[in-house]
């Protein structure tokens, strides 16, 4: 008996030592934490035309238009990230963005006004939203939750119309790719 107790104590000590890693692994990430990471990962698999940026060293800016479901998670995720020599920053906007100020535009809810504004922005803006309807309204990537897992669908035609090059790897992990 005593041996069993000792073994358990030893195991507990090891678990304690590995605490930072195990707690993170054990702790199930929230939906928007995952979505924040996905947003960052999209940047890594997509190529923007040079005209999409104001300057050569302009950061890749992720703009949250309207309601912000991420909170500070988004900022934490993007902190210090650099993709293809450009920093990745997140910003919240309440009005339609000016051209070349946003490379990724996240809209939690699709509105007519927003669609009008987006089409006015010209090429070089990736639109990310929620639900499959988003794609029917010329959105490019739409999150959805399936079996408590975050997935996404891609409207490839819309993305290509916006002069964005989507990596085949990205396409291979999408749940659906609409042509």
């Amino acid at each position: 008996m005593e041996q069993v107790i000792r073994a358990r104590r030893f195991l507990a000590a090891i678990l304690l030592l590995c605490a930072p890693l195990s707690t993170r692994a054990a702790e199930q990430p929230s939906e928007y934490q995952v979505k924040a990471v996905f947003l960052l990962n999209f940047v890594k698999f997509i190529e923007w035309p040079a005209s999409a940026f104001a300057r050569a060293d302009s950061p890749v800016t992720i703009c949250i238009w309207g309601k912000d479901p991420f909170g500070e998670t988004l900022d934490r995720t993007m902190a210090g990230e650099v993709v293809n020599g450009r920093r990745v920053v997140a910003t919240r906007i309440t009005r339609a963005p000016s051209p070349r100020s946003c490379q990724v535009l996240f809209l939690e809810t699709w509105e007519k006004e927003a669609a009008k504004a987006v089409s006015g922005l010209g090429p070089g803006v990736l639109t990310v939203g929620e639900g499959r309807d988003f794609l029917r309204n010329s959105g490019m990537i739409a999150f959805s939750v399936e079996d408590r897992r975050v997935r996404f669908d891609i409207n490839r035609t819309a993305a290509e119309r916006a002069s964005l090059k989507l990596s085949s790897k990205l396409l291979s992990v999408a749940r659906n790719v609409e042509q």
Binding site: N41, K44, F45, E81, N84, R149, K169, S172, V173
Partner: protein
């Protein structure tokens, strides 16, 4: 089991070849296997790490978006590599995104590791590869490669190596059995040759030379050695045969010598170079009545007359030292005690190098001869004595005859008629000639007497004295007389004067019409002096060269050259008394030269001196 060094060379060679080949093959095979496994590991390492990289690269999106389906699809591509037993993709938080295991197996995936690594284990290789997206790690690929392939490879290699070993051993065996005969034949040739030589002692046997290598050289040397032994053997046999023949010859020669020595009337003996007498013939033992043992070596001295022994020994030792032959007269004691005179001659026998190998001596009995000689000498001496005293005693009456015939012719000249005076003249002349004759005879007998002591005499002085006594005759003839300086010699003054007087007198007497020219000289000769008296007179017919030295021998009638015919006889007697010689060289009408020699030392020939009356007689 026999030690290696004792097994036959044939097997040794086989063993060496097999062991060498086996070792070389084993080493080579080990090397090949080791190199192959090294190269295989290296290529496997490269192969596996590139495989892992490709899969990790293809899994970036799957890992980034936690897409299990896509990850599983990527991993399924590993089906093409049957040795990949299992593979997994882990996310950064440690959860497994997708797993793969070989069909029909349920291998569990290795746990995720932090770093890129490739670890060889006992059963396989574990590969850990990070999945990186834009410099950030998004997951880990783990891969387990089962090493069954290596084992298979080693098995195949082992089988090949074993096969090659076996094959090469068989080939080496076959080849070496052919090759070793090359060496083994040479050696067995040598062995069989040496065996038959030692068994038969026949040195004409030769080993057959099979090759030109060291064994060929060995065979040549062996054969040369045999040839050397053979020739030495032959030489030895020949030498033995020669020696036997020489011994036989020597034996024959010895027998012949013995037989010769025994059959001789003389007494024969031989002595060693040191003078030990080692042989006496039978005549000796018969004569002395002593056994050989008693007289051998120096035992002979016991039968030599004590009066002769010392001189005998001295001369014998002298001969032994110098190697000169010995000639000696001695008296030897006969068995009945009587001493008999013997002439003893001993000669050295020399070998090829000139060293004395032995002495051979003979003794001849000269007793009879010696006695006769003695008798003769005594008779001669008696005769001489008689002649001396006769001529001495005759002088007186003859002188009376001469004197009184002269007295008569002076005093009674007128009384006697012419015929009587003529008869008286014949008487006076005859008396005078008789007196001269008697004087000469006296001189002749006196010439035979050798004075006991002969002091050296200056011959020049003697010559001058002679010339002064001949002064009258020289003056009358008008002769010219010359002479060289003459030596001192061992001769009695009177004797030398006699010789000079006769020779010079003859030269003056037997002259031709012209003025006589006479020259006296002396030259040194072996062992003495040679005198010569040369004239330019009538000379002597060579027919009479010897005759003229006889007593009363005259070549001319009395009326032409007066003389008694005794002068040259006196000269010969004197010269021979001193051991010299006298002779003449001449041609008729060309003059004559008389020579006589005087030895340095006069041999003392023992002779009984003429009675002391001789000396007295002369003075009276």
């Amino acid at each position: 089991m026999r030690p290696f060094r004792d097994i036959p060379i044939r097997q040794k060679l086989m063993l060496i070849v097999m062991v060498t080949t086996g070792a070389a093959m084993l080493f080579a095979a080990t090397g090949v296997v080791a190199l192959d496994s090294f190269l295989f590991r290296n290529s496997l390492r490269r192969d596996l790490s590139s495989l892992a990289q490709i899969i990790a690269d293809n899994s970036t999106a799957a890992a980034a978006f936690s897409d299990e389906r896509s990850a599983a699809e990527t991993l399924n591509a590993l089906r093409a590599r049957p040795h990949v037993a299992s593979a997994c993709i882990y996310l950064v938080d440690g959860t497994m995104l997708a797993g793969y295991s070989r069909a029909g197996e349920t291998d569990t995936c290795p746990a995720a590791r932090g770093s890129n690594e490739l670890r060889f284990g006992s059963s396989g290789v574990t590969v850990s590869q990070a999945i990186v997206l834009s410099g950030r790690r998004v997951g880990t690929l783990m891969l387990f490669y089962d090493l069954g392939e290596i084992t298979e490879r080693i098995e195949v290699f082992g089988a090949i190596v074993l096969g090659v070993l076996l094959m090469s051993s068989v080939i080496a065996f076959l080849l070496s059995s052919r090759l070793r005969s090359i060496i083994a034949t040479s050696i067995s040739q040598l062995v069989s040759a040496s065996r038959s030589v030692s068994e038969t002692n026949d040195y004409s046997i030769r080993a057959r030379k099979v090759s030109n290598d060291e064994l060929g050289v060995l065979a040549d040397r062996f054969n040369e050695m045999l040839a050397g032994i053979q020739s030495r053997d032959d030489t030895l046999r020949a030498a033995l045969r020669d020696r036997e023949e020489a011994l036989h010859d020597a034996e024959t020669a010895r027998e012949r010598f013995r037989f010769m020595a025994e059959s001789m009337p003389q007494k024969i003996f031989t002595a060693t170079p040191r003078g030990d007498v080692d042989y006496f013939n039978q005549q000796w033992t018969e004569f002395t009545g002593l056994a050989f043992k008693a007289i051998q070596n120096w035992g002979w001295t016991q039968f030599v007359h004590p009066g002769d022994l010392k001189a005998n020994l001295d001369q014998w030792r002298h001969s032994l030292e110098t190697g000169e032959p010995l000639l000696f007269q001695r008296r030897l004691c006969r068995a009945d005690g009587e001493y008999r005179w013997h002439l003893s001659r001993v000669h050295p026998m020399r070998d090829e190098q000139g060293a004395i190998s032995m002495w051979i001596g003979s003794d001849t009995d000269i007793h009879e001869q010696k006695e006769k000689e003695q008798e003769l000498r005594l008779a001669n001496e008696d005769l001489q004595q008689f002649a001396y005293s006769a001529s001495h005693d005759l002088q007186e009456p003859v002188r009376n005859v001469t004197i009184y015939s002269e007295v008569i012719s002076r005093r009674y000249q007128r009384v006697l008629d012419a015929e009587g005076l003529q008869f008286l003249g014949f008487l006076t002349e005859g008396g005078r000639r008789l007196a001269t004759l008697i004087n000469d005879l006296l001189a002749y007998t006196r010439a035979g007497v050798l004075e006991s002591e002969t002091a050296p005499v200056n011959s020049s002085l003697v010559l001058e004295m002679t010339l002064s006594s001949l002064a009258e005759a020289i003056r009358e003839s008008g002769a010219s007389l010359t002479y060289d300086s003459l030596p001192e010699i061992a001769m009695s003054e009177a004797h030398l004067q006699q010789v000079f007087q006769n020779l010079i007198g003859n030269a003056l007497k037997y002259r031709r019409e012209e003025r006589p020219q006479i020259h006296i000289s002396a030259v040194r000769e072996d062992g003495g002096w040679r005198f010569s008296v040369r004239d330019n007179g009538i000379g002597i017919n060579p027919l009479y060269k010897e005759k003229i030295f006889g007593v009363f021998k005259r070549l001319h009638r009395n009326d032409k050259y007066s003389g008694t015919g005794i002068g040259l006889a006196i000269c010969q007697r004197v010269v021979e008394r001193y051991g010299g010689r006298i002779w003449v060289e001449s041609e008729p009408r060309r003059g004559a030269t008389f020579y006589f020699t005087v030895p340095e030392t006069t041999p003392r020939i023992p002779s009984r001196p003429v009675d002391s009356a001789a000396g007295g007689g002369q003075s009276s």
